[in-house]
């Protein structure tokens, strides 16, 4: 009799609670090679297409041409923002490479006009959050002695499998929970003021 009541009243919330905990701790869908010794952050996000002035093909650059992320996103290891590569950098190669492609011609137009394409943001954290690319790269690449050519694995932790995309798409939630779980799993700071400004 009493137990019946217990089962009726007490168990459901408890189960709910436990399951929530479980969900939050569930392992991720493996979609990209994970750097050794790193527990990847959990969660996916169906990002919508972001129309770019020039639909930049990440797949060609990363997959086919095997260009390192940090070759173009050069600020990532030197600043808290990864930065969009300066137009001059694009032209560094595309002065001669693939100049016949319409995209490249578009780019060249911009360059001759001495201005940069109006790229659209894909990944962003709210402005009250202090996120430092350089610290993460250092921890997961340089301090972890990860071969730099595998840096995409580290980027992938938060940016997903960019090399499988043409124009980048947001496919990780990048929410506080997303960050927090990774910090707890990989020994990142747990102090609010490390990330909140």
């Amino acid at each position: 009799m009493f137990y019946k009541h217990v089962c009726k009243l007490v168990l459901p919330p408890v189960l709910m609670f436990v399951s929530l905990l479980l969900i939050s701790g569930a392992p991720a869908r493996a979609e990209l090679a994970v750097p050794p010794g790193v527990t990847p952050p959990v969660g996916t996000h169906a990002g919508e297409d972001v129309p770019q002035p020039i639909e930049f093909p990440h797949d060609i650059h990363v997959n086919i041409n095997k260009i390192n992320c940090m070759y173009c996103h050069t600020y990532a290891r030197r600043s808290k923002v990864a930065g969009i590569p300066p137009t001059s950098k694009c032209m560094g190669c595309h002065k001669m490479i693939a100049t016949d492609k319409p995209r490249i011609q578009k780019l060249t137009e911009y360059f001759t006009k001495k201005e940069s394409p109006k790229w659209k943001k894909v990944h962003d954290v709210p402005d009250f959050v202090h996120f430092s690319h350089e610290r993460h790269i250092k921890k997961f690449v340089f301090d972890a002695d990860l071969p730099v050519e595998n840096v995409e694995q580290v980027c992938g932790l938060c940016h997903g499998e960019i090399k499988a995309m043409t124009v980048a798409k947001k496919n990780k939630p990048l929410t506080m929970g997303f960050c927090r779980r990774c910090h707890e799993a990989n020994g990142g700071p747990g102090d609010c003021w490390k990330c909140h400004k």
């Binding site: 600043s79 930065g83 969009i84 943001k121 402005d127």
Partner: protein
């Protein structure tokens, strides 16, 4: 790299990572982050310098132009926006420190009320115009003008700006460059020139063990406040020096004094002579005292001085003793002394103390003047405005250029500057803001802010090291239709002498050329001028060869100081006190400086009338009551602030407010005491005796809470600011 400048301009381009990239925590974070409103774009650099990294602030050296002291600054630039100014440690003036006005430099730059395009007067009203049209107008109007019918009125200028102004006037064959500064030390300089043979002697507070300051607010508004503040810190450290401040109204410096002596306004000179007499009588005077001087001093014995100044005889003796005990000493005179009708004599009396105390060569050293005379600081007082207004009123001017100054607001009311300017044939005003003077102009040329412009500065008071301080743009101009002062001056020169200046397509080129050609400028043996130039810009200051003078001490000019006349109709003496912050009113358009309270009264956002409780009781006035202050020239109304840091015979109304124009933050706020000054001129220097106006005060039946910071004037028994006697200090750490 062809043309350092092109790249520079490129990376200075505003590249906000999403505009101001400042979060509103109000908008709560959604569970899945989406892009914030208006932050969809991310701007990529075009061709950045390798040291420009988004998200990382870069510091550029420049020079502060908030006042004429010429402090070196560092500006923090991120994503092409200048964010914060700090002191440049390389600068000998401020040693990496800044004052509140320097901090507010960014607000002068980002001020929402800046002029964004040239204005021209058409049918009585100022109408927007293009630069071409405006310059053409100037060209045709000035074509026929020549000689001394052309004049240039400016604030304190130095460096290449001074050179250019000079050159422009030369093209007209005019010598009429008037310099107008409301807050100045002209009388002090005149006296120093006459008695020491050096107008700008170096004051070594760090060496002094005691300072007797007659109203010299060297921590606030006197000559080079930040420099003196750094010196003051040294003065107070170790064997702590003693500061005695003698003044009719407590200044910021008075607030820090060991002994603050309230003196009857206008009698500081008498007190000085009294102390001198006391020194001589007690045989403490260093060196030979001339007989002539003895007889001048003769009548200034204690009783008489005590009567005249309201400072008790024994106090005078104690002050004298303190000066002797804490040698070497340093005696200064500031605005209240200089601004008296007897200003010159009073300051001479003060300087005499330095001589008698043997401070010359000890704590007062000959100046090291900047080698190139044309670039030396043109500092001046109110005389410039006075002469200018006289010429203008007499219709002796066809063309007037006005820059770095706002005479219509700053000139005392009796000069009737507005009407005087109406008589000038053609007025060109170069300014950053729609100020009172601009409103009177025929052509208004909008200038870059100090943060957008190039320039070089030579401090009038340089603390003994002659340096050239560089001013370079921290960011792209906010408004494309504004121009740098140098560029404007150059285009004026090009109108008159196209050939000579054809080489320089802008001020930057001119500056670079002339600096690189300065003998001291280029590092020895360095052939690569670009490298030297970039190094200079990085450092911000350039030490140059200096001409160090010699003192020629002369006490002949010391004369008896006339006592101030009492007046029944106007029983009080008006003190138009200056204040660090709003300064002479040029910073009234900065919200920060308006909101940061006056250091002594703690009043914000407005004007007030300071009076002593005794006076207040006589008038039946409480703090917050509105009073009318009336002089022979007119009257003003403001709220009273009653406190005992002022002499009962004095009424103080601070400078800085009472603008009719000058943007949303300044306009229609408070009153300007200069509007009711009496036309009293200090005879020997021709400066306006700003502290010589007598006023009467009447209570108005209107009262309101005086908007000020802080509720309690006392500590109410808490240990907030606790004080220990210097004896204890000496015992514990004084010897350190």
């Amino acid at each position: 790299m062809s043309g350092f400048k092109v790249n520079r301009r490129d990376f200075l381009r505003v590249l906000g990572w999403g505009g101001a990239s400042t979060a509103l925590v109000g908008c709560d974070m959604p569970t899945t982050v989406t892009l914030e409103e208006g932050k969809e774009d991310v701007v990529a650099y075009f061709m950045p310098e390798e040291y420009v990294i988004p998200g990382v602030g870069v510091w550029y050296a420049s020079t502060c132009t908030q006042c004429a002291a010429g402090c070196g600054i560092h500006g923090r630039v991120r994503e092409g926006r200048a964010l914060k100014l700090e002191g440049n440690p390389e600068s000998v003036i401020n040693r990496g420190k800044t004052c509140m006005m320097g901090q507010a430099g960014v607000q002068a730059h980002y001020n929402p009320d800046r002029l964004t395009q040239p204005l021209m007067r058409e049918g009585g009203a100022l109408k927007p115009a293009s630069w071409e049209v405006a310059l053409k107008k100037i060209a045709e109007k000035t074509a026929s003008a020549n000689g001394d019918r052309v004049a240039w009125l400016s604030g304190a200028v130095s460096g290449h700006q001074a050179v250019l102004i000079n050159d422009v006037l030369n093209t007209f064959g005019s010598k009429q460059h008037f310099v107008h500064e409301t807050i100045h030390a002209s009388v002090w300089q005149a006296v120093a020139r006459d008695m020491l043979g050096d107008a700008q002697p170096v004051l070594r507070m760090d060496k002094a063990k005691s300072i007797l300051s007659f109203g010299a607010d060297f921590l606030g508004t006197w000559q080079s406040p930040v420099h003196f503040a750094t010196q003051y810190a040294k003065f107070r450290s170790g064997k702590r020096g003693v500061l005695i401040q003698v003044e009719p109204k407590m200044s910021l410096t008075g607030g820090s004094a060991d002994a603050w002596v309230a003196v009857r306004p206008g009698t500081e000179g008498i007190l000085a002579l009294g102390i001198a007499q006391n020194l001589v009588k007690r045989g403490w005077a260093k060196g030979e005292v001339p007989a002539k001087l003895k007889e001048v001093l003769a009548k200034y014995e204690l009783g008489m001085v005590a009567n005249a100044t309201g400072v008790a005889g024994d106090r005078i003796q104690r002050i004298t003793a303190a000066l002797k005990d804490h040698a070497p000493s340093l005696v200064l005179a500031g605005a209240p002394v200089e601004g008296g009708e007897n200003g010159y004599d009073a300051v001479s009396a003060v300087m005499l103390l330095n001589i008698l105390l043997g401070n010359i060569g000890q704590t007062i050293e000959p100046a090291a003047q900047f080698a190139e005379a044309r670039m030396q600081a043109r500092s001046g007082g109110t005389r410039g405005a006075l002469e200018f207004s006289k010429l203008a009123a007499a219709k002796k001017l066809d063309v007037a250029f006005i820059s770095h100054a706002n005479p219509v607001y700053h000139a005392p009311g009796f000069m009737k500057m507005k009407d005087a300017m109406a008589n000038v044939g053609f007025k060109v005003v170069m300014t950053q803001f729609p100020d009172e003077t601009a409103m009177q102009a025929d052509v208004v040329l909008p200038l870059y802010s100090a943060i957008e412009d190039w320039g070089t500065h030579v401090a009038a008071y340089n603390g003994g090291v002659a340096t050239l301080s560089f001013q370079q743009p921290l960011m792209e101009p906010l408004y494309k239709d504004t121009r740098g002062f140098g560029d404007v001056a150059l285009s004026l020169l090009k109108q008159r002498k196209p050939k000579e200046y054809a080489a320089f397509n802008d001020y930057y080129a001119y500056l670079k050329a002339s600096v690189s050609n300065m003998p001291a400028a280029v590092a020895k043996g360095d052939k690569n001028k670009d490298a030297a130039w970039n190094a200079l810009l990085q450092k911000g200051v350039l030490e140059t060869k200096a001409t160090v003078g010699k003192f020629k001490v002369n006490t002949a000019t010391v004369a008896a100081v006339a006592d101030v006349s009492a007046d029944v109709q106007f029983p009080y003496r008006l003190l138009p006190s200056a204040r660090l912050g709003l300064w002479d009113g040029r910073h009234a358009n900065s919200p920060w400086l308006q909101e940061s309270p006056d250091q002594i009264s703690k009043v914000v956002w407005g004007s007030w009338v300071e009076m002593h409780p005794v006076t207040a009781a006589k008038l039946g006035v409480k703090s917050g009551d509105y009073v009318r202050v009336t002089s022979a020239q007119g009257s003003l109304e403001a709220q009273a602030y009653v406190f005992n840091g002022i002499h009962p015979e004095a009424i103080a109304v601070p400078l800085g407010q009472g603008h009719q124009e000058y943007g949303r933050y300044a306009k229609g706020l408070g009153v300007n005491p200069y509007a009711i000054l009496n036309p009293v001129i200090e005879k020997k220097t021709g400066e306006v005796a700003a502290y010589a106006t007598r006023v009467s005060v009447t209570k108005l039946d209107k009262s309101a809470r005086l908007v000020h910071m802080g509720s309690s004037d006392t500590q109410m028994g808490r240990k907030l600011v606790s004080t220990i006697p210097a004896t204890v200090y000496r015992r514990t750490e004084g010897e350190a």
